[in-house]
Amino acid sequence: MAMTGYRINPRSLDLIGFALIAVLILVVFPLMLDVFRLNLVGKYLTYAFVAVGLVLCWGSTGILSLGQGIFFGLGGYCMAAFLKLEASSVANTKIQSTPGIPDFMDWNQITALPYIWMPFKSLPLSLIAVIAVPTLFAFIIGAAMFKRRVGGVYFAIITQAVAAVLTILIIGRQGYTGGINGITDLRTLLGWDIRTDGAKYILYFVCCFLLLGTMFVARFIQMSKLGRILVAVRDQEDRVRFSGYDVANFKIFVFCLASAMAAVGGAMFTLQVGFMSPSFVGIVPSIEMVIFCAVGGRESVLGAVVGTLLVNWVKTSFSEAFPELWLFAMGGLFIGVVLAFPRGLAGLVTDQIIPRLPSGRFWSAAAQPNPAPAE
């Protein structure tokens, strides 16, 4: 594992970095991009929640989870469940044999709303569920694993297996989950149509502020003694134990936190894109999100966000330009980054650029990796 190098006055560096990101997503993008592209960026930003979580979980603490898609997905599904119930009012579902329940239930001969769906009739409960369900799930996994001192590759692969199990379950129990189609055709939130351009702008900004908040929390933790302990756990687990800390608890905490962040991202995804699909719970997106984080720099909150934007922008523009060959580019990108900048773009900045620049403060800040604009 790479180690955090010594940064020149990290706080000021951070502040300006944060400012740059904030300006970029709050001002530059909305001015530069049409609503369709902006909505795309909004979608990318929902992945950034996961990446930020991974910075804490993987970058700081060294716990590589290949199952973050699980929590992104669960969060998204909880949100989708509420919206779906609102969308499938008796009026909207006249043609069904049982009006008033989601269409996919009707297709599967379910004639009454299942109990697990009841809570999602209320928005407050649903919002609680968005955070609570994934976090609880993470807690169960985390407790089981870390108390038993499962770590490293083993943890990574087990989370992968859990993702596989969950995918099969969601697809198999389609009467209750919408199956492989996911939960589609979501329309309104408390009567407010989330599909209009206006709504898309509002949701975009909500997403931005939530993300900035998440980034702040993550950074605050990194800066606190807790943050130092997490790094210590990564590099010197035994010593931490012999300093009287219960390592497992710290790991569980950070894993749950990362999951909660992912869940928020998932919920925002559902709101902005208008549906939730089981493909997120699977393995591929989970690994992709780890890669976003690696590209940006697994130890840098700012880096992770920038990396997420960058990779997705590359992905979209390449796949639009060469629909049949873009995978080459993606694969090349991942390999290149892993080989060339083990600590991602952020590492590139802090290790390569800043030291070479004249006097620290102003420059070091300006040298925060600038994301390629999503255009």
Binding site: F36, N39, Q109, W326
Partner: protein
Amino acid sequence: MSSEKRSGNILIPTRRELLVGAAALSASATLPRLASADAPSTAAVNTTGLAVTDSEVTVGILHSVTGTMAISETGSVEAEKLAIDQINAEGGVLGRKIKFIQEDGASDWPTFAEKAKKLLVQDKCAAVFGCWTSASRKAVLPVFEQYNGMLYYPTFYEGLEQSKNVIYTGQEATQQILAGLDWVTRTQGSKTFYLLGSDYIWPRTSNKIARKHIENHLEGCKVLGEEYFPLGNTQFNSVINKIKLTKPDVIYAIIVGGSNVAFYKQLKAAGIDMSKQVLLTISVTEDEIDGIGGENIAGAYACMKYFQSLDNPNNKAFVEAFHKMWGPKTVIGDVTQAAYLGPNLWRLTAEKAGSFDIDKIAAASPGVEFKGAPEGYVRIHENHHLWSKTRVGRARLDGQFDVVYETKDLVEPNPFPKGYQ
């Protein structure tokens, strides 16, 4: 102008053979020039700001060319490109050449939604030909309805859907299933069925319909078992054992994608002989057999609306043109043919409506008939599905099908079948 004439010259290669003293055709041979000559003004044919110029109209092609679904969707892409080429060769639609923008759905539903949006919002496509799995269609449907686009969807699917913004050029479940079941009970005297499927909405809904039909409409028939496997599953020995023990008259298989290969290879290896054991599938087209290998599935029955071996002039010409464009080895399955219908139906509709406007197209669609369809003849129903015949084919060693049965008349599409839900 009746679509009668057009049907003649839809397929350039066929001109020669069809020209034999057909007055209509000699007229239609000159038709392209006419078409471009009296091309209506853009303002007239495009009142909603679609990507239409005086010389060009832009459409979208949206399929997975990467990821697991690329296996199946490639054929559709090829067919749609062929159809567009041919239409352009005849002077295009309303005197405008068709320009297509291709996007990759990457076998990932959210990506499909993203790209669909791009095609409609940014590229202002007049029509989109695409999607394969139900999941991808469900993902893009709200997009098409919100931004008022037109989707031509080629795959046979589970039904339970109907949209102003979609034309379903494949068969819906009842069209594809019922006739086949009736046929198998009638001719093979089958009484007992074992239903298999990949674990997602289409096989489950189709099996549901099949079960209802078997239990409620077929005298003295019953279902011995019903089972589903995760997509991409490659181990079927257990279920094959169950089949051997329950000894059903008919194995009714709706397994998709790579699993097919594993399933049929293992069936063969397990010594289940298709010449004795009746196997009826609605998910295996010539495309799948390419991967399965003819020797592993020869003797099985498939029930759908099109087979490459269909013997009619339209199809001969279509197959020839397809092979000319994509190589003589490429096979053509039911969905590929349905995908080929898309651009043609759209063209006919546009010329019937005299406009590219989505609303006009949607309104004009019902009743549009395509006499040049490789499958013979199709007509768009009020519910935006197609009237089409259903056929049963028996797989040959060479990967082609012998058509052993075809419904006398067109089967009416019925996406919301009463008594089957």
